[in-house]
């Protein structure tokens, strides 16, 4: 069973929208409630490395992609999560699973206004501490 089949097997119907755009780039979607379990599966059980996460302000909501690198094959598995509530987007923090996610969640929090529940230290990373509340530089409507 290859690594993609292992993920499909473990997540069953919770993962959808699979696409392999190019040979080593795999994207799939999960609901925001399933992010902790999915990240745990990829990082802890399948031994992937967390490369980074990227969040985008889209018309449908705030979209987060969690990019995990499987270095044995050079593939990147990008977990797509859509937060439809743009007014107060909220998702579980994956930083308690592994510390490498702490900084990027702080960054997404300050630049796009995503609340990460359970983050151990959610404060400004790149912006100054007295940055005005409610101003998010990477939001498209300002």
């Amino acid at each position: 069973m290859n690594i993609e089949e292992k993920i499909k097997d473990a997540l069953c119907s919770r993962a959808s929208g699979w696409s392999r755009h190019s040979p080593k780039r795999v994207y799939f979607s999960v609901r925001k409630e399933d992010i902790l379990e999915t990240a745990k599966l990829l990082f802890k059980e399948l031994g992937m490395r967390f490369s980074i996460a990227s969040a985008t302000d889209t018309p449908q909501g705030i979209e987060i992609l969690y990019h995990f690198s499987f270095d044995k094959t050079g593939e990147i598995f990008s977990i797509r999560v859509l937060l439809e509530d743009k007014k107060s987007p909220k998702i579980d923090s994956i930083a308690p699973l592994f510390p490498a996610a702490e900084w990027i969640e702080r960054e997404m929090w300050e630049l796009l206004g995503i609340e990460f529940s359970g983050h151990p230290n959610l404060k400004h990373l790149l912006l100054v501490d007295d940055w005005p509340a409610g101003k998010y530089p990477l939001r498209h409507e300002r």
Binding site: R25, T56, F98, E102, L126
Partner: protein, 408 residues
């Protein structure tokens, strides 16, 4: 803790390329905690990229870092070529590798010099930067610039390497190889440097995995990853070289990985010069369709990651950039804690961060007897430790004629 003292390091230092601020919490000589404060050079490049068209962005991302100024454009064009499924002419791919590996050589030599300076081996500093100079001259000859080479473009490279430049490139590499030999001998076999760097700033393999560090920082801790081999871009799948992996995770292991990687880079460039195919250097790309793509590059400091999303217009709707230091610097949280203040500057520098180190250092005590140290004091502390080790080794073993330099 009655003796807990806070030492701020940074944010500015003229030796380093980027400011960063470290707040060390120390108990006596021992570092018990560290705060890392970023953002001094946050220029909003990801946001700026959304307002540039696709062909302008290589120039923008090139200016993220002066040292790995080709890694970012290369990762970006890889991302766009992944998005638009562009086939790049083979000659352009080989030229990309030559530029990227020359960059690794000059970057590793730069770091080696700084590390030498931090431990009081100023001769190593001068040597390393002396041998870095011909590499920059090569860049000027091939690209027109010593830094910010502006070589990468979507679908190819902007300049060809002329036939008459090839012998000069080969000659420079031939002259560089003995210099690397000398570093290998003088640095790796020196008992003082071994005593100074071994066991300092250790990042264990498990810590390296948990913090997702990349590049030489990961490979020095026994994590066998290298994007050039694992997810080959350009023409790396047509070349052969070794991925250098050490297991100790200390500053010595990181030094060793970088020195040995110099040989591999020379080897890779020689193969490229030998195999350099004739033909076009540009695929002449017109439009970028809607979609998303990810490009990765093994920069001198590790995996450089770019994600680009397009809606079919001439500008990306999202461009996410993750430089390798973003993962590596965070791991200082574990490698610095437990060490001494005299090792802190060295350990922070050992991940080869784009960071700023020891300028504007102040020791802040909670009591009223405040003490302010200037920027050089941390370096001086680090150099003093080397001298102490040196004295100890020379007194105890009475080794004569050791190849150590004659700094004061």
């Amino acid at each position: 803790m009655s003796h807990k003292v806070i030492i701020p390091i940074g944010p500015y230092h003229p030796l380093q390329e980027e400011p960063e601020f470290f707040r060390l919490y120390v108990d006596g000589e021992k570092v018990v905690d560290i705060d890392i404060v970023l953002g001094y050079v946050h220029r909003g490049i990801e946001e700026l990229a959304e307002h540039k068209h696709f062909d302008q962005i290589p120039f923008l991302v090139e200016r993220i870092c002066g040292i790995c100024s080709t890694s970012h454009p290369l990762a970006y064009v890889n991302a766009v070529e992944d998005l638009a499924k562009i086939k790049v002419p083979p000659r352009a791919l080989y030229i990309r590798i030559i530029i990227a590996e020359l960059e690794r050589i000059h970057s590793h030599l730069l770091w080696l010099g700084l590390a030498g300076h931090f431990i009081g081996y100023n001769t190593v500093w001068m040597w390393a930067w002396k041998y870095r100079e011909p590499v920059l001259d090569i860049f000027e000859m091939v690209t027109g610039n010593r830094n910010h080479y502006a070589m990468m473009k979507i679908g190819g490279v902007r300049r060809d390497i002329r036939d008459q430049d090839l012998p000069i490139l080969k000659k420079t590499l031939d002259e560089l190889a003995p210099a690397v030999d000398m570093f290998h001998g003088a640095v790796m076999d020196d008992p003082v440097i071994q005593a100074r760097l071994k066991g300092v700033g250790v990042l264990t393999k498990q810590q390296a995995i948990d913090w997702c560090v990349v590049g030489p920082t990961a490979r020095a801790s026994g994590v066998n990853i290298d994007i050039r081999r694992d997810d080959p871009y350009a023409a790396y799948n047509e070349l052969s070289w070794n991925v250098i992996v050490e297991k100790d995770g200390d500053v010595f292991a990181k030094t060793k990985v970088r020195i040995l990687e110099l040989y591999e880079s020379i080897n890779i460039i020689r193969q490229c010069l030998h195999k350099l195919p004739p033909g076009e250097i540009d695929a002449d790309v017109k439009d970028i369709p809607a979609g998303e793509g990810i490009g990765r590059v093994e920069a001198p400091r590790g995996e450089c990651f770019h994600y680009v999303k397009s809606d079919g217009t001439n500008r990306p709707v999202r461009h996410k950039i993750r430089a390798p230091s973003y993962m590596n610097v965070a791991s200082n949280k574990v490698s610095v804690i437990g060490g001494t203040i005299s090792d802190a500057a060295l350990t922070l520098a050992a991940v080869d961060p784009c960071y700023c180190c020891t300028e504007r250092v102040a020791v802040v005590k909670k009591s009223d007897n405040q003490k302010i140290l200037n920027g050089w004091d941390l370096v001086r502390l680090s150099q003093k430790k080397t001298q102490d080790i040196k004295k100890h080794i020379f007194v105890n073993t009475d080794i004569r004629g050791l190849h150590t330099d004659g700094h004061g």
